[in-house]
Amino acid sequence: MKTATLNKSDIGKCIDLLLQADLRVIAPRLQPQVDEDGPDALEVLTFTEVKSGEGHQVGKGLLPLNGVKEFLFAKHEPLFAYEKRGKKIEIIPVHHEYPQTVIIGVRPCDAASIASLESVFSDANAGFEDPFFTERRSRTTFITYSCTAPDSSCFCTSVELSPDSAKGSDLHLTEIGDGRLHVEVITKAGEAVAKQLQELLKGEGDQATREKAGAEVTEKLTRIRDSAPIMDWLMDTANFDDEMWQRLGEKCIGCGACTFVCPTCHCFDIVDENKGSKGYRVKIWDSCQFDHFTLHASGHNPRDWQYKRYRNRFNCKFKIYPEKFETPGCVGCGRCIRACPVNLDITEYMAEVAHKATNPNAIKAE
């Protein structure tokens, strides 16, 4: 594996170089606020397409509010257009642009989530390949950036990741002090990008310092849960009707915030956007937390209570993904915890399950 160092202050230049190479560059940026200093204002950091190296927030702040999901699995994806002509219908393919893209400043948890989405949308899943996802995926390179300051919602170490993990990364950056970054070229795609940045990359990296730095940051994580026993406990269908689901989930209000910010949530809906005799069939984001998500035409709803919908989400992350796709369903980014308006905390479920799994005879907590 090739390594190098890069001056932290040169990231803006990196972006400019990538732009000069006709690449689409996506980086964390701060969004404008009505009243920057007002009591209600929060810094809004999001991954956004950038047109210059100025104003980027790579390595600053923690996690952008959106993940990188929307750049692979679009919020709104026209699948094809159609036109009615009398009794005939013509299906017209929609031209999609799949520009060669570099996403820079991706945190390790987000990078790790790509594999999970890929397992759903690739042909490995029942032989059906979502061409829109895979086309984008194949043209996207991820430059990741190790975390330096996790917050109280981060729990990546609880799901077998770490703040400096290079999983899912093409080119990985880690701060090693003195305003320098340790650069690891991980994949061929990463190498291609590194070539574009050659003039800024210097010599060899510093593997030892990088690992030490990573370990130091890992130490800072406060929210640590034992996820090991969770899957086995969930596999027991008897536990599907455990009292904890309702107890913990009754405050859930069924907004989809957790699923929409989640880097691995992939549920979607297919609808027609019609006007007169023309229209598009589009794929749009959907959420398993919505009450009509599983509602049958007959009126029957398998997940008729909100806690059942959250139960499905938890199962999806910790049982369905690992069982069906052999990829983790949760990367510990903590977005769902930050986003939840009622402080429904997935790690509380994890702790509760772990507790139940390791103390099978314990009296049910009230």
């Binding site: 299906i91 979607f268 029957h300």
Partner: protein, 281 residues
């Protein structure tokens, strides 16, 4: 690269009004190459498009032994089905499929079959009923075939002609029923809910018999319970699930029961398989 979400176009060759709000379409592919390459097995389903409204999931209601066209049967309940219901002969619809698994006809060789259905759940059963009847005709591979079918009222019964046809057939027992209050003066069938009629009036013998149940979840539940009381074992009971679906491809994430996706692992399940699934349907 092929677009898995893009349907093939089919022409409606015939429309049959089965019951109030329920229609059957006969469908033919418009593209000959698609038509020639198309095959399906009983139990599979498709995604039918009414362009401008969206897609809806129905089982293929016709039998693969009668491949001249495929049929679908639906009740007008929402946006898509309402748009479909507005279509007439010669109009175009979209079709994706076939998707899902099939009824295990091979496992049923030499056995007696009981088909139990309620309301709009007869169409999925009809495919397998005709398939089995046709195969039995060919090589006598199944034993006695019984059909227990009920609807809310006499007018809500679908496939009324075929019910009579089955009634006339030798080696077929046709048990028809309507919910209490749904009968008419000249109704010659039973009156009562399907599981009740099954258990108390029909009383099938479980010996060397497979029961295929299709209907609303509550009916499946009660029918299974009734069958168990009659001595049927779980492996003798088969059903087809009708969870809400959008993609049919195991991606959109709504038809799952635990880790099982009805669209790719189903829709046909034995009672044994269902019992192993979490209580999420």
């Amino acid at each position: 690269m092929s677009n898995i979400y893009q349907p093939d176009l089919m022409t409606i060759t015939k429309v049959i009004q089965e019951a109030p709000g329920i229609k059957t379409f006969h469908l033919k592919f418009q593209d000959e190459e698609v038509a020639n390459n198309f095959s399906f097995e009983t139990g599979q389903f498709g995604e039918y498009s009414a362009f401008g409204a969206g897609e809806s999931t129905f089982c293929i209601a016709s039998s693969p032994t009668r491949p001249e066209h495929i049929e679908c049967c639906f009740r007008e309940t929402g946006k898509v089905t309402a748009a479909l219901a507005n279509l007439t002969e010669g109009d175009t619809i979209g079709f994706r499929g076939p998707y899902g698994n099939t009824f295990p006809l091979d496992d049923w060789k030499g056995k007696n079959l009981i088909f139990i259905g309620g309301g709009i759940a007869l169409p999925p059963l009809r495919s397998v009923i005709w398939n089995c009847l046709d195969l039995r005709e060919q090589d006598g591979r199944f034993g006695h075939i019984s059909i227990v079918y009920g609807a809310r009222s006499v007018q809500d019964l679908v496939y009324k002609r075929e019910i009579e046809e089955w009634n006339q057939m030798e080696n077929v027992t046709m048990v028809k029923t309507v919910d209490p209050g749904g009968e008419t003066d000249d109704w010659d069938g039973h009156v009562g809910f399907v599981p009740h009629v099954l258990e108390n009036d029909f009383k099938p013998d479980p010996e060397n018999t497979v029961a295929i149940v299709c209907g609303p979840p509550i009916m499946i539940k009660f029918a299974f319970e009734a069958l168990e009381r009659l001595g049927f074992k779980q492996e003798q009971m088969v059903t087809t699930m009708e969870n809400r679906m959008k993609c049919g491809l195991g991606k959109c994430g709504r038809c799952n029961i635990g880790s099982v996706y009805v669209c790719i692992d189903g829709p046909v399940f034995t009672a044994t398989q269902l019992a192993a699934l979490p209580n999420d349907f």
